[in-house]
């Protein structure tokens, strides 16, 4: 890789990326560790995530990707260190941090319709009953479920159920959207469609996204930065900037030489860890 090419690409990014790393971070992960008894799962991770940034987390299984995400959601407490949201320590789950779980089948309420599931988030934040229907309609419309408001999750495909979970998260009006391998169980076409929708949602809402995936290409496609974790205990192996223009396109972006270069680089990183 020649220096000149790197510089040219770096120049492109300044224009394309809406993220400024100089701003006060939305999330600050400060030297976080997590142990269960004698077993250390996370061994000292520090990352700053800027407002509006999209950070993808990759790494071999058992490297603590999901555990890290659960700490950001307030569902797991760090043994030492702290997670800060807008400068103040996160003590537990917070309504402004939404999380999309991989197992949509378990995260949705099977006895509520699509509209009812979205409504749950509104009920939780005390939104009056008569104000809910228009908000629900708009959210379902936005995520492509406008015609399926009265369907139960069991009547929906996996992709639709995951859309519904995302809609429910958006109803929280979150500043941070955490995603735990959300598309891992979906077929390739659905997955690509949802990737694009998530990107446009993040762009329009300005939410900060942390996206855990084991799919390198997904990480490159969605991320502004990619953190590559190493296992035993989980720690930052490498932080990679993604210098690809926005908005991204399933064909153009994936054929971009930079995309292919990143894929190669990350592949080698992960492969080394597996040896």
């Amino acid at each position: 890789m020649s220096m000149t090419r790197m510089n040219v690409q770096a120049g492109q990014v300044e224009m394309a990326s809406p993220v400024s790393h100089a701003a006060e971070p939305r999330i600050r992960i400060r030297d976080v560790t997590l142990s269960y008894g004698a077993l250390q799962i996370i061994g000292g991770i520090s990352i700053d995530i800027a407002p509006g940034e999209s950070l993808c987390v990759i790494g071999p299984s058992g490297c603590g990707k999901t555990t890290l995400l659960r700490m950001l959601a307030g569902l797991a407490r760090p043994t030492s260190g702290a997670v800060e949201l807008d400068g103040s320590a996160l003590g537990g789950p917070d309504r402004s941090v939404a999380i999309v779980f991989q197992d949509y089948g378990k995260a949705l309420l099977p006895w509520r319709t699509a509209a009812g599931n979205v409504s749950l988030a509104l009920e939780a934040r005390g939104c009056p009953a008569r104000e809910r229907p228009p908000i629900i309609r708009e959210l379902l419309e936005k995520i492509g479920l406008g015609r399926h408001a009265d369907k139960y999750p069991s009547e929906m495909s996996g992709g639709m159920q995951q859309r519904l979970q995302i809609a429910r998260c958006l109803a929280q009006e979150p500043k941070v959207l955490l995603m735990d391998e959300p598309f891992g169980a979906l077929d390739a076409m659905t997955r690509q469609a949802l990737q694009d929708e998530v990107l446009s949602l993040v762009a329009t809402t300005g939410a900060t996204m942390v996206f855990v995936t084991h799919d390198l290409e997904e990480a490159i496609y969605l991320g502004d930065r990619i953190v590559c974790l190493q296992p035993n205990p989980g720690r930052v192996g490498r932080m990679v900037d993604v210098r690809l223009a926005h908005p991204r396109d399933q064909l153009v972006t994936r054929e971009d030489p930079e995309f292919l270069r990143l894929r190669r680089e990350l592949y080698d990183l992960i492969k080394d860890d597996h040896q």
Binding site: G74, P93, I99, F101, L109, W111, L120, A124
Partner: protein
């Protein structure tokens, strides 16, 4: 679909007809003395007479009222207690051994205790019904609550649902299939205990009427009472089925 349920209904009626036919054959051939075992026709006549001019209608209403009141008490107490115990692991640990000790006691064994406290009164019968019918609802609610998908607890934490909201909006609906099944079981127990209670405490109702008919060898009246008890059970369970279909619509979709 419609044809299938029609077929089911016809088969069910056929089964009932066979049952009555066997009954008729037994009595026609006097396999059992008619003093103890009346024919279907005699039972039917006694039933109509009892309902039209006789005391049967009033007694039926008495028993149904007793059954429903006891069942309602047991259901409310069972579900509320179950919810309280079900949401807290500590409460479960605290109360589980005591419950296991009380649960296997036959409700009829509680009758002497209830009589000691309340005498031969309607309240006594009610307490016995409520105690006996409480268990299915209580256990189903506790179990349903503790069997709630753990992911939903996380969802509720992230959404910021209050504890009461978690109970009302997540735990209760997710336990609903089990609770509804237990409501049906509880209704049967309530009917049994209403009859037993009436017999033992000689309160007005079908139980007492059956007992008196049996003592005075009025076998047709005895059987008329039993037919009504069967009908009460059938109607009760049918109504609960309807409620179940409505409340568990979301499940029907998957099947």
């Amino acid at each position: 679909m419609k044809q299938l349920s029609m077929q089911k209904l016809l088969l069910g009626l056929l089964g009932l007809a066979t049952f009555i036919l066997v009954w008729k054959v037994i009595t026609d051939f006097k396999l059992v003395s008619p003093i103890f075992f009346p024919s279907p026709a005699r039972t039917w006549t006694a039933l109509l007479k009892g309902l039209a001019g006789g005391p049967l209608l009033a007694q039926t209403l008495e028993t149904v009222q007793r059954m429903l009141l006891g069942w309602l008490l047991a259901s409310l107490a069972g579900i509320m207690l179950g919810a309280l115990i079900g949401v807290s692991r500590r409460a479960r640990a605290f109360i589980a051994p005591t419950l296991e000790l009380l649960r296997p006691l036959p409700a009829s064994a509680m009758i002497p205790i209830a009589i000691a406290f309340l005498g031969f009164s309607d309240q006594m019968v009610l307490v016995v019904i409520a105690f006996g019918a409480l268990w299915p609802m209580l256990l189903a609610t506790i179990h349903g609550f503790s069997a709630m998908e753990p992911r939903l607890y996380e969802v509720s934490a992230v959404l910021g649902l209050s504890r009461l909201q978690v109970i009302r909006k997540l735990a209760l609906p997710s336990a609903m299939p089990m609770i509804l099944a237990s409501l049906r079981l509880g209704l049967t127990i309530s009917l049994i205990l209403a009859v037993v209670g009436e017999m033992l405490a000689s309160r007005e109702g079908l139980g007492q009427s059956i007992l008196l008919a049996s003592r005075s060898f009025r076998s047709a009246d005895l059987f008329a009472g039993i037919v009504i008890l069967g009908a009460i059970g059938l109607v009760g369970s049918g109504l609960l089925s309807l409620a179940e279909q409505r409340l568990l619509r979301w499940q029907a979709v998957t099947r």
